[in-house]
Every structure is written in C-alpha cells, then in structure tokens.
Assembly symmetry: none
Amino acid sequence: MPRPNVEAERREQILSAACVVLAEVGLQNLRLAQVAKAAGVSSGTIHYYFETKQDVVSAAFEFNMSNSLERRQSILASEQNPLEMLQELVESYLPADSRSLQAWRVWAELWAEGMRLDPLQEVNERLYGQWRDIVTDVLRAGQRQGLVKEGDPVRFANMLVGMVDGLAMQVLLHSPNMDLKNMRETCNALIGLFAAR
Amino acid sequence: MPRPNVEAERREQILSAACVVLAEVGLQNLRLAQVAKAAGVSSGTIHYYFETKQDVVSAAFEFNMSNSLERRQSILASEQNPLEMLQELVESYLPADSRSLQAWRVWAELWAEGMRLDPLQEVNERLYGQWRDIVTDVLRAGQRQGLVKEGDPVRFANMLVGMVDGLAMQVLLHSPNMDLKNMRETCNALIGLFAAR
Amino acid sequence: MPRPNVEAERREQILSAACVVLAEVGLQNLRLAQVAKAAGVSSGTIHYYFETKQDVVSAAFEFNMSNSLERRQSILASEQNPLEMLQELVESYLPADSRSLQAWRVWAELWAEGMRLDPLQEVNERLYGQWRDIVTDVLRAGQRQGLVKEGDPVRFANMLVGMVDGLAMQVLLHSPNMDLKNMRETCNALIGLFAAR
Amino acid sequence: MPRPNVEAERREQILSAACVVLAEVGLQNLRLAQVAKAAGVSSGTIHYYFETKQDVVSAAFEFNMSNSLERRQSILASEQNPLEMLQELVESYLPADSRSLQAWRVWAELWAEGMRLDPLQEVNERLYGQWRDIVTDVLRAGQRQGLVKEGDPVRFANMLVGMVDGLAMQVLLHSPNMDLKNMRETCNALIGLFAAR
DNA sequence: AATGAATGAGGCTTCATTCAT
DNA sequence: CATGAATGAAGCCTCATTCAT
C-alpha cells in the first residue's frame, strides 16, 4: 500500500534539486548523478520518475517558472496603488536574494536551450505569458484610475517585462555598469514614463 | 611558398564554424568533431589551434560579438537625426535575417554560460559596453539637438538596450505574443517616450 | 478460503509467460519486468517464487521441454504401423503452428545457453533422451514387424532426431531452401531409407 | 599518412576476439569491454570501427561463418572419391578441436539470435547455402561415377547437413548418448545409406 | 501472498584529447 | 601544418534485486 503522494513528493524533491544544480553549474555541466546526490536519492530513482535526462531538465524548467509565479501572488493581493504595485513587482524580480538568483540562472538556461526545443518554448509561453498578463492587468487598473497614461497596456507591459529581462541578464553577468540598484532605478524610470502627466 | 597568416585564416575559419554550430545545436550539444566538419578541417587541426574545447568556445563568443558590432558602424556614419538613428540601430539588431539570428543565438549561449565564467563576463562587458556607449552617444546628440528629453542619457541607453535584449529573447523563443513587428514597434514606442515634448 | 496450490499455479503462470517472452525476444533480451507483465504479476512476485533470473530461465527451459513431450503421447497410443508412426512423430515436431514455433525457439535458446551451463545440459539430456527413446522403441517395433531394415535402432533414432533438429533450425531461420514442406519430405526420405528392402 | 589496411587489420582483430568471447561466454554475457581486452585494444577503438554492439556481433557471426567455409576448400581440392570426400567433409565439421568447437558455439548463438534478426538470417543463408552446395556437388559427382544411388542430390545434401547440425548440438551439450565417435559413425552410416547398392 | 518503490552496480556509448606519421 | 587513428574517462541509462508495507 503506497503512501499517498510519494510520487508527487519525490518528483518535487528531484526537480528542486535539479534547479539548484542547474543554477550552479549550467545545463552543459549538469550531471544526473549530481542531481541525484542533491536530491538525496539514487541515480536509479531519477530514472524511475523520469525517462531521460532531457525530461528531468524540461520538468525542472517548468518547475522553476511556476514556482517563480507563485511568489508574485501576494503582491497582487495587496492594497497598493497600481504604480506602486508595478514597482513591487519589479522589486520582487530583481536578482537580489539567492532564491531569485537561482531562478534567473535557470531561466537563462531555459532561454538558451528553448531556442531549439519546442516543448520548452511552450513552457516559456505558458508561464511567461501569465507574468505579462499580470503586468498588463495592473497597468490597465492604473489607466482606469487615471494614474497611467493612455496607450496599449499590453505594449507597456511588454516594454517593462522585456526591460526587466534584459537588465537582469547584465546584472547576472556582473556588468560593472548594471548593478542591482541601477537596475531598480532604471526600471522605475520606465514606470515613471508610464505615469500620467 | 606558404601564404602569410595561414594561421589567422584557419582560426577564423574554425571560429566561424563554431558560431554556426553553436547557434544550431547550442553549447550543450556542441561537439568539436562537428565544428571540425563545418570548418572543413580535421579534429586534430582544431586542437592545433586551440588548447581546449573551452578555448574554442570562448574565442567563438568573442568572435561573434566583435562581428556583431562591426555591422553597426555604417549606421553611425549616416546623416540621419538621432531619433531616426536609434530606430535604425534597433532595426539592425532585430533577429530578422539568418545572420542576425545566428548572432542572437550565440549571444544567448554566452549569457547562460557567462554567468559562471569570469572570462566570458569580460567578453560581454567589453563588447556590450561598446554597444551601450554607441546608444548613449546618439541619445546625447539628440539631447543637444533638443530632440530627446532631459535626463541621464546612460539611463536611457540602458533602458533601450535592456529592452531590446529582453524582447529579442521572446522573439527567438517564438512567443506568439512577440514577433518581429511587435518588437520593432515596442522598441520604437520607447524611443517615442524619449522624444522631447 | 485459500485455494490449495496457489503457489503451483503462480509458478506455472510465470514460467509460461517466461517461455512466451523467451521465444519472442530471446534470452539476451529477456527482462524479468517483461515476464512479470506477461504473467500479469508484479516484478516482486517473480522474486517471491524464484531466487534469481537464472532460476526463472532454467525452470522455463524445463517447463518448455516437458510440455513438448506431453504432446507426443497420443501418437504412441495410436494403432498405426511403426513407419507411419515415425512420420506422425516427425509431423508433430515440425515448427508449423505457433505453439510448436515457440517451443522450438525456446529450445534454440536452451542449446546456445546449455553449452556453458551443466544444469541445462541435464535438462536437455533428461527430456531429449526420452524423445530419442521413443523413436528408438518405434524403430525397434518396426524391426520386429520386418518393416524396418536391420541395424542398430538407437543409431537410426539418432539419425532421425538429429536430422529433425538440424532441419528445424533452418526452417526457423527462414532459409529459402528449407521450408516446412521440404523438411517434411526430407525427413520422410530418411524414414524411407530405414524401410526394409 | 595511414598505413595501408590498418582498418581491415583492426577489424579482423576485433572480430576474431569477438568470436573467442562469444564462444566462451555466449551472446547474453558478451561485454564489449571483454572483447576489447581480448583484442588488445581500448573500448573506444571498438566503437571507432563499429557503431554498436549489435554491429560487432553481427559482423562476428559473418566472420565466423566465412572462416569456417575457408577451411573446407582444401578437401575439395583433394583427389579422393566422392564418398570419401563426404566423410572427410563431415570429419572436418566435427566439433573436435578447439577451433571447431569455438566455431560451433558461435554458430549456436547465431541460430538462436538469427531467429529474430533478418540480417543474421541472410548471413546464415549466404554461407550455409554454400556449405549445402558443396555437399550437393560432391554427391552429384558421386552419382556420375555410379557411387551414389539415384535421387535428388539436394535432398541428400540437406539430409546430411541437417543431421550434422543436429548431432553436433548434442555433442556440444555433452549428451552421454552422443559423443564425437558416435557422431562420426552416425553420419557415416547415413553416407553408407547413400551408397549405390 | 504480493506489491512496487527504490537501489546501485555495471554496461554501452560518447567525445575531448593525444600523438605518431 | 595537418591528419585521423586511438584512447579512456565519464555519463546516461538499464535492470536484477531488495524490502518496507
């Protein structure tokens, strides 16, 4: 009689470990043995739950992105005005703490790899799309309240999320010209451009 | 009578092939044998010119980026007004033709890999910095001519190049919500926000 | 109320499945998981009834051969003359129907494997010896009735069973020069040579 | 500048080793590492000349059979009468010396495996067919000289080669009822039945 | 009596690297 | 300068076997 959700538990355990390793050494150097060790299971167990290494990696990418989105939910539930909310959202995306850093690194791997793998592109679209939608909704609310200037909110959203992604890459690459503080201010500068008046 | 610079030629031949393969299969799947084949040389020859695989890849990244910048020079030499020049620069960066596509794909690999390798971060900074400087200079010229609004031109430049990078990734990932046309318009929308008045 | 001999039933169920798989994929590719599936039990159950894979295989070989002999009994009980009986015995051994085909395939695996494993040689001798004895008895009866020429009946038996085995292999290998009909006629030609006159 | 026929040499070296290992441990237990060791090369070299293990094994089967046929040629060139020649051919096929024993063991593996692999069936037919043809030719010559009785020589040939194969299996399985001497006499008994008068 | 999750040793295969030519 | 045969370390994956339930 199998314990309930042993499978779901074990899968998460493995995927979480895969993200850690992915962020640490990159896709190129990821070894399933290392993932197994990080997850505290045997290499055989990895293959008991996932057919191939590719499957592990793809699932890890998905796991990383959905986790990332979950962490945004609290912000939306707060009672701030839309412009502040945008700043909070950006703030939450900054590659600041180790958790966020890990997420970004995994993301960068997904982007590089996703260029050649349709399934990964779907993962990106499914979850990145939600992120874009969230920003769009906040902008739309801002427009209704007269806080955000006229214009296509989807376009504004794409501008912001695109900029966040691009700047984050430079931060992660330790560019001397783009640190955390600069990234925050640069993003807020764009939000400032969105403001009415 | 041996031609001078056979070595330089051979190096370029190999690096060019490496970029092609890198864009095609990604760093994870890049095999020196494949690079050798694409370059029309033997695997032994690769190692005659480069110590290790890592050396080939790093040199290929550098090769890709310097090539990329070269292609911007003609725009700067033109006689357009700064705002039009910015649009042209953005246009030249769109992942539109196969050459540009290849460059972007290699770039994405560099970003993912550069997160862990200092030498690659230097490559990024050296060449990415130039790109940022070019944009900054154009913006500054625009401000001098009263075409671009007040504000730190470096910040404006970071906004634009960051957005270009972020949006390009989505285009390369075939996001249904971000195609070439949309990317162009979105970038131009930002340039519009920079305009005085 | 537990049925008696559940164990014996389960064993047969497993061995029967093992023969099916053995004939289908060969010893080299036989996986206990596949046997378990074919038997409709779990992999754990296989090991509940058999210590090792080798044990399963050996038992399956024995199971295959004893099954095979059982199918000859009805012929011996019939009221034909010995020469006809020989023809019937040969006929019953032809790799004609799927059941017979499976038995032959398992047999071929036994031969290849038995070359290195004494226990399998004993299995072969125990059951193959019976088959030889049956043929010998029929030949001896034929001699008593003056239908079979003088000579050592054991030698005649060895000639016939040897020929049957050798030809069967070629039939099973789909040799264009040895089909079922040809095998039947070739064997009967030998029986013809045994006939008195 | 590659030495001439390094490739052919190396291939034979590997295949010869494969046959040794095949005879010794069987297909089921054949490890490429063991073949490599027996051939005195690295495991990498095996894969430099053969794509997969399956390719090595198939080539080894072919190698074994063509080698086997070569060893018959001298008999045909001799000046004996056809009946003696048949006895010599049989004699040369007896699993008597270690070389012949090895060939038979490899053959048994081929038969078991060939049941499921078309390419191996072709190998069998190509080379087994030649063996059958040789025997047929000798029998035909015997008929021309009045030494062999009337009848289809192909049928006679099939009788003999079939019997040889079947009896050899029992010898190889160490059947107490079929040793080398008995096999020789049993085959000669059949040849005796072929004799005119 | 039976299950199936988990293991881990070991095999095939890949591929960067070497080196004799 | 260049080759390509050869290497061997290392990775993915398989699968017989175990054991808690």
